[in-house]
């Protein structure tokens, strides 16, 4: 699939010459391997495109990047608005780049196409990190469905990793299905909370607690500190009520203050401890393989559905049958059988 006859320097001069023109998949991939942020951004824009012509090229870039994408740690970060996700990510990100890491920050926010980017839309919210040469920040892709947004973020991770980013932070909002999508693309899932407010007030669903590999009580500073200590005890107790995870990891509860930069080092040390734990017992790689397989199987079913639903006969027959169902002339299940029979006979 790759065109390997060019040397990197050939490709680079070609990039320079054709800066204003559309770049080839080879040129984009080479730019990514060179750690060129502009090229990385261009490639992500390409894969986010809905134009069919861009689809093949984006896939060619992704295929080239795949082999280089497996040396990172992918961390999902969730929490309701107001919990301080942006400042947490800014402080954590800066700590990590100071230690020589390259940090990419992505986001999954299915509402962003409506609200024009409620998270990460405004890079100024992470002012210091945005200027850091070893950090790359990309707002949530827009999309009509969570599935679409999640797929594009999933593919962006591959490209960021090929560009040398070894810590990938995926931010999401703590209000629903998007957590499940993010959980299915990361190695480690961190839930940010505040002390004092109950689960209901924080809008956190039980399922999200169950997914967390760690809970960090943020804003543990000033007069909040004592409450935060109590919250750590409470949540530790609550987490013990859940059945143990298959990988043997016992979720941790810690406190931190992104504002005062306390507790952040400890959280990073804990993440590294988790990575070691999971690599030692083989769950790290196993989990990534399983995630990839799940994405494949889900996408296949999604494509299959689309294949049928866009057929004219399908749409027409479906409308007729829906009317018959409304008028109680046919059972929903038999109608489904009739529709499928008609369509498959036509194929």
């Amino acid at each position: 699939m790759a065109d390997d006859n060019k040397t990197p320097s050939d490709t680079i001069s070609k990039i320079k010459a054709l800066r204003k023109q559309e770049l080839s998949a080879d040129a984009l991939a080479q730019g990514i391997f060179d750690g060129n942020k502009a090229m990385l951004a261009k490639a992500i824009t390409l894969l986010e495109s809905t134009k069919p012509a861009h689809f093949e090229k984006a896939n060619a870039v992704i295929e080239k990047c795949l082999a280089k994408s497996n040396k990172s740690i992918r961390i999902g970060i969730t929490g309701v608005p107001g919990v301080g996700k942006s400042s947490f990510i800014e402080t954590l990100g800066k700590t990590l780049t100071d230690q020589g890491n390259k940090v990419a920050v992505l986001a999954v926010d299915p509402t962003s196409s409506l609200s024009k980017g409620s998270i990460l839309g405004d890079k100024t919210r992470m002012e210091t990190l945005a200027k850091d040469p070893n950090a790359f920040i990309r707002p949530s892709p827009s999309g009509t469905s969570l599935g679409g947004v999640a797929q594009k973020t999933r593919e962006s991770i591959i490209l960021c990793e090929a560009a040398g980013y070894n810590v990938i932070l995926v931010e999401t909002v703590g209000v629903g299905q998007s957590e499940i999508a993010v959980h299915s693309m990361v190695d480690f899932f961190l839930l940010l909370k505040l002390s004092g407010a109950g689960d209901e007030l924080q809008g956190i669903k039980r399922g999200i607690m169950e997914m967390a590999d760690a809970i960090a009580i943020n804003k543990a500073d000033g007069s909040n500190l004592e409450h935060a200590k109590l919250a750590v005890t409470e949540f530790s107790r609550a987490l013990h009520l859940y059945p143990p995870k298959a990988n043997g990891w016992m979720p941790k509860v810690m406190k931190c203050s992104a504002m005062e930069n306390t507790g952040i080092d400890e959280i990073w040390a804990m993440v590294q401890q988790f990575v070691k734990h999971n690599k030692d017992n083989g769950f790290f790689e196993k989990n990534r393989q399983q995630q990839n397989k799940n994405w494949f199987l889900q996408t296949v079913d999604e494509y299959i559905k689309q294949f049928f639903h866009q057929k004219e006969t399908f749409k027409k027959e479906q409308a007729t049958l829906l009317t018959a169902i409304e008028e109680h002339k046919i059972s929903p299940f038999y109608a489904a059988k009739i529709l499928l029979d008609k369509i498959t006979k036509e194929l």
Copy 2:
């Protein structure tokens, strides 16, 4: 579709003659219309069958019954084991048959194929109701998936209604997805709870509270009575936190004792008030139409998936691609595209 040349008496004599043989769809439908419990049970067994030959005949019976199935009230009843579902249903059912109603009790329990019927499996749990000529009790169908179990229950409702049962009670266990399935097939959804125990201890998920049209605090008797009164206040307050329902109904919280037969009449009066409320504003019929359409659309997608997944090429190619994904040779999304292209070219 129907063979309408026979008179009922012809059909009945035919039934008698062919008792040991397989009955025709016409004969079964006529038996159901006559209110014959044995025929109703036979027809439900037929639709629960997985034999392809039975599929067409079961659908023919359902089509015949559809026109007669729209004069009932369908009530979903959930609550964790120990909350007293069986005795509640027995007391409510007896109250209803005493008032001249015909009551069918069905169940959705996806675990029943493993546990050989954890709910309703043993009719002796509803001894009085089981002997009542105006009651029909049917345990949960067995099935490999919740979807399958739910579909069969959904179809059984149609047959019961055609047999003249005007109150359909659908029991389910309060532990997960089965509530969503039952909620999508009933007009009214009742959650049974106990006083004293917290939500976590009762294993009730938040989503189930949101689905409830009413909560009944059961076992409100003896020393529990005071706790039950408190629980009514608490849950009423909790329900006010949820956004109002589209139909304008404000969920009610009541107390009852199935053992002492207190509060049951009040609950039935409230259900009737709900039915009047929803029929007056058109939501009753609208909800049933929407439920039917949803069942149709879900079933279509399920059939579409099955159509592809059972093809030999599909299975073979899928296995090959899964291996390539494990070895990081191809991205999950591109692999899905390749698989679909191969299969659709072959059709």
